[in-house]
């Protein structure tokens, strides 16, 4: 018996890029995060071949979750085909052997920046959101150790105070993306910069959501069937973006979150969830008799522009 026989053969890279100890640490932190929904868990953010702030937090969680049978979808502001989304997706596939997809229904792991797909996620899917600033208390308490103490005390008065002052100044709540939400009735989290439109999708969802900030080295989770309640005054209802009545100028679909494209006169809108738009166009082409264009749109969270 030689040492060489006991040692694993040299490989240029570990499976899934991260070395096993890094993955083990991340898994532990992810389990902790599931155990205390919405509570931020610090972790040792590793180097990945991407600049901090470009989704390294999400990438590390995804790398930890991957297996060869996984099917990954990567979204950047709703689109699958942006440079960032495409390169993260191909990187994930290259280091793990997982299949790539654009289709929400086909994916097992969805890493996303700024959006949650419009089609309902299932219990067998995991959503990984990239988070730039995980600390909802940062605007009110720059000192992070005090902020952690405030979380421990559930001392969220100042967070409410910000909403109060927006109401005073503007007559409405100005918080756009990253609307603070109370998870499981205990911890307030910032749900990454997803639009207000997407926050209700997290409430009592079937799927597991991880939110991870690589630069800030924090991750937190929303387990399946967990309450996620945006902070709202009892007499000022929560309002999502006013997109329910807009129509996509390319697919003709109405009732989802749209990107506004300014024109010389006015603006037009297109679906932010780009693959939903592609599927809708293919469906209408199939109805029009174009061959090989059939596709399937799954059940969506919003129906006719409102969340049932």
């Amino acid at each position: 018996m030689t040492i060489a026989a006991l040692t694993k053969a040299w490989q240029p890279m570990s499976y899934g890029f991260l070395d096993p100890s890094a993955k083990r640490e991340l898994r532990r932190k992810m389990l902790k995060a599931i155990a205390v929904p919405g509570c931020q868990m610090p972790y040792a953010s590793r180097e990945v071949p991407m600049a901090r702030g470009w989704g390294t937090g999400g990438l590390q969680v995804t790398l930890t979750l991957l297996k060869p049978q996984s099917v990954v979808k990567v979204i950047d502001q709703g689109a699958d085909d942006s440079v960032n989304a495409a390169s993260i997706r191909s990187f994930l596939s290259k280091v793990s052997g997982a299949a790539e997809t654009w289709d929400t229904l086909a994916a097992t792991i969805i890493q996303s920046r700024h959006r949650i797909p419009e089609e309902r996620l299932r219990a067998d899917q995991v959503l990984v959101l990239q988070v730039p600033n995980p600390e909802p208390l940062r605007p009110v308490e720059p000192n992070m150790s005090i902020a952690r103490q405030m979380h421990a005390d559930a001392d969220y008065g100042r967070l409410w105070l910000i909403l109060y002052e927006q109401m005073v100044r503007a007559g409405r709540i100005m918080e756009g993306a990253a609307y603070p939400a109370l998870v499981n009735g205990r911890h307030v989290m910032t749900p990454s910069p997803i639009p207000r439109w997407d926050v209700p999708k997290l409430h009592m969802a079937q799927h597991l959501t991880f939110l991870s900030a690589g630069r800030e080295k924090r991750l937190y989770a929303v387990p399946p069937f967990t309450r996620v309640e945006p902070l709202v005054f009892s007499d000022v209802p929560y309002q999502v973006e006013d997109h329910g009545g807009l129509t996509c100028h390319r697919s003709g679909v109405t009732g989802y979150f749209m990107n506004e494209i300014p024109q010389d006169v006015g603006s037009v809108f297109e679906l932010s969830d780009s693959h939903l738009g592609i599927k809708a166009i293919r469906l209408s082409q199939a109805e029009g008799g174009v061959e090989g264009a059939a596709d399937q749109i799954g059940p969506t969270w919003y129906e006719n522009g409102v969340m049932p």
């Binding site: 005390d153 001392d155 008065g157 100042r158 409410w160 105070l161 109060y164 002052e165 109401m167 005073v168 100044r169 005054f233 009892s234 007499d235 000022v236």
Partner: protein, 264 residues
Amino acid sequence: MNAMLPPQLMTTPPLLTMTGLCRRYGRVTALDDVSAMVYPGEVLGIVGESGSGKSTLLRMMNLEDTPDSGDYRLALPDLPGNLFDLDRFARRMLCATRIGIVYQNPHQGLLMKHTSSGNVAERLLIAGERSFAALRARGRVALEASEFPLDRMDARPIELSGGMQQRVQLAKAIALEPALLLLDEPTTGLDVSVQALVLDTLKRLQRDRAITMVIVSHDLGVLRTMADRVMVMRHGRVVEQGLADQVFQDPQHEYTQSLVHAKL
């Protein structure tokens, strides 16, 4: 001299009872076996020079600090036992909902970059108020009671004068109708005329709402107008206590006499 008798006619128990408080900071003795009682509706004045321990005592009343030994009780429902035994969370809730405090330095008591009404609203939010309309209305009531001009209620304290800042602190302190209002040199550093107005507001508040107050000041004039009873502190000890008019007209202790004689 005769020793004082225990209360005979006063049948209501004291709201605040502190017994045997000792606190040392390194080699400095801040409090040396201090006891105090405050009855409901009463205004207790604490006077003494800097370093006499009067502010430390007030901080203890606000549960900001824990003594080395001593007992603190408030006769409020659901609050049995020594309050110093409460954990941080329970202390915070107690301070937010049942005790109001006005600091000498408004920076200590206020969020300077938030609106004045927001500073009041924060207290209500901590106590669980979630209706925006109610926050507005209750904030307005508290600010009005502390005679703050309502057309400025959404100005930031940093833009306000010292007297106005103290009024915001006061409004914040009384917003939840606390059982106990603590005032730490509330008028020190204000112009004399502003000082009179703030004191008048306090007096009016005391008269209208019968709030139990503890007011710490090195200014005898402030305590003469405000306090029912006065405690004189020196080197962490209580050297004399009595009815305000008695302590000021017929001070017994040498130190109190020198204080009274030094008053202009």
